[in-house]
């Protein structure tokens, strides 16, 4: 079954989940212990960045694998193509944040507040990068560029199904795909860092870390790979993708395993270096998270390193649906929590400061006073910040449903198996030593 039909009962289910998410999102506007409706806005930003990022990473995966002459992934690349196009709704999702910034509806970013910047020499120094104009046009132009590549990649890939003549035209389509993939990689490398700094790192507006962009990209990579595994398992149970065997799942499991270790490596490098050097401007970031968000701080490490490491260490576990699905769900939520922890504490601080500032009127905070206020770890427990509440979970389900609806809808638009890809034969007979290719579905193990 190479054609995919998106059944209406599934559509209904996903639309229901989206409505649930929307309701939760609206409720979080009102049910907030913190000022400036920051729970609502930070939830919205968190999920928008997370799911748009997964779209970006999907394109990155296609580009990287194509450039590296990988053959095994071709049988499932239509899924990644569909996921990469989520960049389009992703860009639309950013529009409320951008409009909200210009309209002063939210205080997610301290640097977007002209008065705060005027009183703060550090923010003043950053103003030529951290400003509304850059945020707006950076987002539009850079995400727009990503969309161009994802779109082009999709177009050529589908054209190959119809027009590709294989050996006879020397795989002309594939060679064009390779060119786009190779050009995309450096663009992605430079531009994703700039976006991550603006979207996420600048929430803690004074803080900086050179590793941050690479760290948060590794996080998205795992989330994207885990989501792909889950989606493929689901689609396989629906009777599609019969050619995806436990060998393919084995390789995807390896990626989740390996990049989880890589993520931990990044986490450790960033944390340890900051802990070791003990420079106040830097340690504040972890100090705050360690003191006030300790449950999440450790949950992050357990969900994204300890558990997946031990589950996926064994080869058999990468080939069996049970452990693989469990690990995938775990790391998907784990990295969602990782982004939660990147965004929420800073957003909450910013909102509290902005509220205090509004209350004091145009008080002349000097810098030292300002810093002292930030350091004071006297926050009460706040649902939706210290831990994700039911509303946050509902919102995540809503966004996820939207993502899946979009992806499944894209899948109906092309054959699930690319027809004239030069590597398709390799992909259909993929085997992982010492397991033979014939073994199917991951359910033959005793």
């Amino acid at each position: 079954m190479n054609a995919f039909t998106f059944e209406s009962k599934h559509k209904t289910f996903l639309i229901g989940a989206m409505i649930l998410g929307l309701v939760c999102l609206v409720l979080s506007y009102f049910m907030d212990s913190e000022p400036m409706h920051v729970r609502f806005w930070s939830n919205y930003l968190h999920n928008t960045v997370f799911f748009t990022g997964i779209g970006f990473i999907s394109m990155f995966i296609i580009a990287a694998f194509t450039t590296a002459w990988a053959g095994w992934f071709v049988g499932m690349k239509r899924v990644w193509e569909a996921m990469s196009l989520f960049l389009i709704p992703g860009l639309i999702l950013f529009i409320p944040i951008i409009i909200g910034m210009w309209g002063h509806w939210h205080h997610l970013y301290h640097w977007a507040d002209a008065e705060a910047v005027a009183a703060d020499p550090i923010l003043k120094g950053k103003a030529s990068f951290l400003n509304k104009g850059w945020y707006t046009f950076g987002t539009l132009i850079i995400v727009g560029t990503w969309i161009y590549f994802a779109w082009k990649n999709r177009q050529i890939s589908i054209a190959e199904d119809e027009e590709g003549e294989g050996v006879a035209d020397n795989y002309a389509h594939h060679r064009r795909l390779r060119v786009y993939a190779a050009i995309f990689l450096p663009i992605a490398g430079f531009s994703s860092a700039a976006m991550i700094w603006q979207w996420v790192m600048s929430i803690d507006a004074h803080w900086y870390s050179t590793l941050f962009a690479w760290y948060s990209s590794a996080s998205l990579f795992i989330a994207a790979m885990a989501l792909t595994i889950l989606l493929l398992v689901y689609l396989k149970n629906q009777g599609h993708f019969a050619h995806i065997t436990s060998n393919h799942f084995h390789d995807m499991g390896k990626f989740v395993f390996a990049i989880s270790i890589f993520w931990t490596y990044m986490w450790f490098s960033q944390y340890m270096l900051i802990w070791y050097a003990n420079v106040g401007e830097e340690t504040i970031y972890f100090r705050h998270r360690f003191d006030n968000y300790r449950a999440l701080f450790f949950a992050n490490l357990i969900m994204n390193f300890v558990l997946p490491f031990f589950i996926l260490l064994r080869n058999d576990n990468k080939r069996k649906y049970g452990p693989l699905v469990f690990a995938s769900v775990l790391v998907f939520i784990g990295h969602w929590v990782d982004y939660f922890l990147m965004i929420k504490p800073g957003a909450r601080l910013t909102a509290i400061e902005a509220a205090a500032h509004h209350a004091h009127g145009h008080g002349g905070h000097d810098h030292a006073e300002h810093a002292a206020e930030v350091v004071r770890p006297v926050f009460d427990f706040a649902m939706g910040f210290n831990i994700p509440g039911l509303l946050e979970i509902g919102i995540m389900i809503g966004f996820l449903a939207g993502f899946l609806y979009f992806v499944l809808n894209q899948l109906t638009k092309a054959s699930l198996v690319p027809q004239n890809d030069p590597y398709i034969d390799e992909a259909l007979h993929h085997e992982v030593w010492p397991y033979p290719a014939s073994e199917d579905g991951g359910n033959h193990h005793h």
Binding site: F268, Y271, M272, W275, Y276, N278, L313, W433, P434, P436
Partner: protein, 177 residues
């Protein structure tokens, strides 16, 4: 270190890995007891054909690694919390982040050395060990299938002989090793 010969084997040489693979499959189907197969490189599918049990080397590696991990981490913990506590750079005595690099290195070191030593030991190899080989071209381009005929009857021997002939082996020889 050379051991004295104690075994008679009958072997034949094949020219290609596909030939020896099908010969091994056929031998299994005919319930012939193969002594061993010797090849110039690892032949894909041979472990299935020979019905070899999965190597458990990785389990051993895990245990060695764990020993290394505990040695390093507990060792540093003991030294810096009770044997000779010293403050370095204003850090607590028990500075877990600072212990991680060495803990990781020793985990890998123990696992690697342990596994390599285990590998050579269970394979009966090592510096200066000389194991008998059947033919000099086995490490070049010949694929060798051997039967143990130490206590075999003449009927069995001729059965092996004709099996080797039928499956396309050349230079069928009996040798004491």
């Amino acid at each position: 270190m050379k051991r004295s010969p104690n075994k008679d084997v009958l072997f034949g040489l094949y020219n290609d890995e596909t030939e020896i693979l099908s010969a091994v499959h056929k031998a299994k189907a005919d319930h012939l007891d193969i002594y061993d197969v010797f090849t110039p490189f690892p032949v894909h599918g041979m472990e299935d054909a020979m019905e070899l049990s999965e190597s458990r080397l990785h389990m051993a590696g895990f245990v060695y690694g764990l020993i290394g991990l505990l040695t390093a981490f507990l060792g540093m913990t003991w030294i810096f919390t009770s044997d000779w506590p010293i403050i370095f750079g204003g850090k607590p005595y028990w500075s877990v982040p600072a212990f991680i690099p060495i803990t990781f290195e020793l985990t890998v070191l123990f696992a690697a050395i342990g596994m390599v030593v285990t590998f050579y030991t269970i394979c009966g190899m090592g510096p200066g060990v000389i194991n008998p080989t059947l033919h000099d071209r086995i490490t070049d381009d010949k694929f060798c299938l051997a039967f143990d005929v130490t206590n075999a009857s003449d009927a069995d021997k001729s059965k092996f002989q004709s099996f080797l002939e039928k499956t396309g082996a050349e230079e069928i020889t009996q040798k004491q090793i």
